[in-house]
């Protein structure tokens, strides 16, 4: 999966979970700006795990504060 594809996947899932449009969100956006609460965020991570067949342990989510950091983490886990 290419990075643009991964980013699009993120946008689609975030829209489904939060019932909002994330089309204009950029990769360098701070997660705090997205209007997703901590529950939504974990649900998003769960959705990515299922759809991409990847495992993202809770402890690796500590300190993740931008969309880019989150996608970097997913990419690293995909390579494992």
């Amino acid at each position: 999966m290419t990075r643009p594809e991964l980013f699009q996947t993120f946008q689609r899932m975030a829209s489904e979970i939060a019932e909002k449009d994330f089309a204009s969100v950029q990769e360098d956006a701070k997660i705090a700006q997205l209007g997703l609460d901590s529950l939504n965020l974990l649900e998003l991570v769960g959705q990515m795990e299922r759809e991409l067949g990847v495992q993202i342990p809770d402890e690796q989510l500590v300190g993740i504060q931008t969309v880019r950091q989150l996608l970097d983490l997913v990419e690293r886990r995909l390579q494992k």
Binding site: I31, Q33, S38, L39, D58
Partner: protein, 568 residues
């Protein structure tokens, strides 16, 4: 030799553990974050508890010393908690994860709790050891012992004779209230715990039977998960299946799948969780679920919305769910857990009252379309009393709103080493809940809060913590920030209002949202940046939360227009 099981209840958690049946048949089942199930018969839990107690003693703990538990895996948490208990130490559960939060603010929170409890030892796991060990770099905590469960309890246990535990001994500290900088640890004694759990699981509560199975994803650092599904269930011998809270957040329907798989009979959750699964579970999922075993689906810990529970019942009726299982409850950590329960097996009682009369504190039944729906949380337990009082402490008649008070053997002695805070909430044995409610036909209806507490997704947040964090930002003047919550579509939402200059408004709005997310993991539903002097203040210049909220709700709060917004 262990004493033979008797029909009467044990007097302490430790006595309860000692009395639990041997053999493989009964025990706790833990779903790990790896989704693997681990089954621990009571006997194995007991053996491991005494094993861990010996190690805790060997690192220098004595009877009555506090040990902080920052443990992300439920089975490791429970075994360490019980280890501390049988050793006569006082466990202090602390939330173990900081997903999407800044590490520094999380370590600050740990530091405040560890210091307030004067904990000498922290037990963690290897996965969070690096973060927890940062505590040793904080002033005054250089000597803190950090023990991870993987290496700390390894090998032959050192010699140790467990002390005798009496009902008046402190069982654990519950740090769910107080602001981040001044956390308050509720002192739960063994006799409080036994009184409360035998009340809410006994004949006047959920009427536990030998066939019951509890299923829960609730966090174990909070009273509803810890007492409701670990300590209380051990005291009355009620086997449970526990799954991690983040696993529920990632895959909400797993909660119901677990009930289906293990034929769960009792579960509990805050309002938001019932709403979430009602929204997320698909028609296809419904076909794989069987909730017919469930006789109690309890709801508590945050305001209960009738519509949410009725929608849940409608949605899951095809999966065998019975609406009589819905059981609205009221309680708080200062009274262990439970204060009132709706009657078992009865349909929920929902009142419709006149909103105008409610603003003056009177619950007048109404059939109008704008009537407010309020759910009955039921009646207190035998041996416990409930009162509703006005601001002078005088009892008010039925259907008049006042502060909810509770008295009885479940009510704790107050907060650990904090006489001032204890004196505010505990007076003559009466716990002052800070919640507003009224009584009708003997049942409690909770309808608001005296304090400005913000409850989001079942977690309590103090406005002053949020206001403090926002006040640190460049361009915001300390003391000119107000955080409050509003009800939107029956769900509590956070609003932050701050004074700032109009040219700076867009930047401030983003910076405030980021600061709140980073420090608390919360996303404000709205950030209002207002002109200097726009927020209502007291005569001493303190921003007024309640007045700001009223202004916001009525559209009177004047905000700077954002440059990226079209003109209205």
């Amino acid at each position: 030799m262990r004493p033979a099981p008797s029909s009467s209840f044990p007097s302490t958690l430790v006595e309860a553990l000692d009395r639990l049946p041997t053999g493989e048949a009964r025990g706790f089942r833990f779903v790990g974050t790896d989704r693997q199930e681990r089954y621990f018969p009571y006997e194995a839990m007991r053996t491991e508890a005494y094993h861990r107690a010996a190690f805790l003693s060997s690192v220098g703990l004595s009877k009555g010393d506090c040990v902080a538990l920052v443990i992300p895996e439920n089975h490791e948490f429970v075994l360490s908690f019980l280890g501390a208990s049988v050793g006569g130490f006082v466990p202090v559960p602390i939330f173990p994860r900081a997903s999407f939060k800044g590490v520094d603010t999380y370590v600050d929170t740990l530091e405040h709790i560890v210091k307030a409890a004067r904990a000498k030892v922290v037990v963690c796991m290897q996965q969070n050891r690096d973060i927890v060990a940062q505590l040793q770099g904080r002033p005054g905590l250089e000597a803190l012992v950090v023990l991870d469960v993987e290496t700390g309890f390894l090998g032959q246990a050192p010699p140790f004779s467990p002390p005798r535990i009496t009902p008046r001994d402190l069982c654990f500290l519950q740090f769910t209230s107080g602001s981040t900088s001044r956390p308050k640890g509720v002192m739960v004694r063994h006799d409080n715990l036994v009184a409360n759990t035998t009340a809410f699981l006994g004949p006047s509560g959920l009427a536990r039977t030998p066939d019951d199975i509890g299923v829960s994803w609730l966090p174990l650092f909070h009273d509803m998960g810890l007492i409701g599904f670990v300590l209380g269930t051990l005291i009355v011998d009620l086997p449970v299946v526990l799954m991690p809270t983040p696993t529920f957040a990632r895959t909400p329907r797993m909660w119901l799948e677990l009930i289906t798989k293990h034929r769960g009979t009792i579960t509990y959750a805050p309002n938001f969780a019932y709403q979430l699964v009602t929204k997320r579970v698909t028609e296809k999922d419904l076909g794989t679920l069987d909730l017919s075993s469930l006789r109690v689906a309890g709801c508590g810990a945050e305001p209960i919305r009738a519509r949410t529970l009725l929608d849940f019942a409608d949605k899951f009726r095809p999966a065998g769910f019975r609406s009589t299982a819905l059981l609205p409850s009221y309680g708080m950590a200062e009274s262990c857990l439970a204060i009132t329960f709706h009657s078992l097996g009865q349909d929920m009682v929902v009142e419709r009252v006149d909103p105008a009369a409610m603003r003056t504190g009177h619950a007048v039944p109404s059939t109008a379309s704008d009537a407010l729906e309020i759910v009955s949380c039921g009646v207190p337990f035998p041996g416990h009393e409930l009162a509703v009082v006005d601001e002078h402490g005088t009892n008010v008649p039925e259907r008049v709103v006042g502060q909810v008070l509770s008295r009885g053997p479940s009510v704790t002695d107050g907060y650990y080493e904090n006489d001032e805070a204890s004196a505010e909430s505990f007076k003559d044995g009466w716990l002052h809940s800070g919640d507003l409610g009224y009584v009708a036909d003997g049942a409690l209806f909770v309808c608001g809060r005296v304090k400005d507490l913000i409850i989001l997704n079942g977690a309590n947040h103090y406005p002053q913590d949020i206001e403090w964090a926002v006040g640190e930002l460049d361009g915001v003047r300390r003391g000119n920030v107000v955080a409050f919550s509003v009800m939107k579509d029956g769900v509590e939402q956070l609003v932050v209002a701050a004074e700032g200059h109009s040219a700076d408004a867009s930047r401030l709005r983003t910076a405030i949202a980021e600061a709140v997310q980073s420090a608390f993991g919360l996303t404000p539903s709205h950030v209002a940046v207002c002109g200097v002097g726009a927020l209502p203040k007291t005569s001493s210049g303190k921003a007024q939360r309640r007045k700001t909220r009223l202004m916001w709700e009525s559209g009177e709060l004047e905000e700077h227009r954002m440059s990226d917004e079209p003109l209205a």
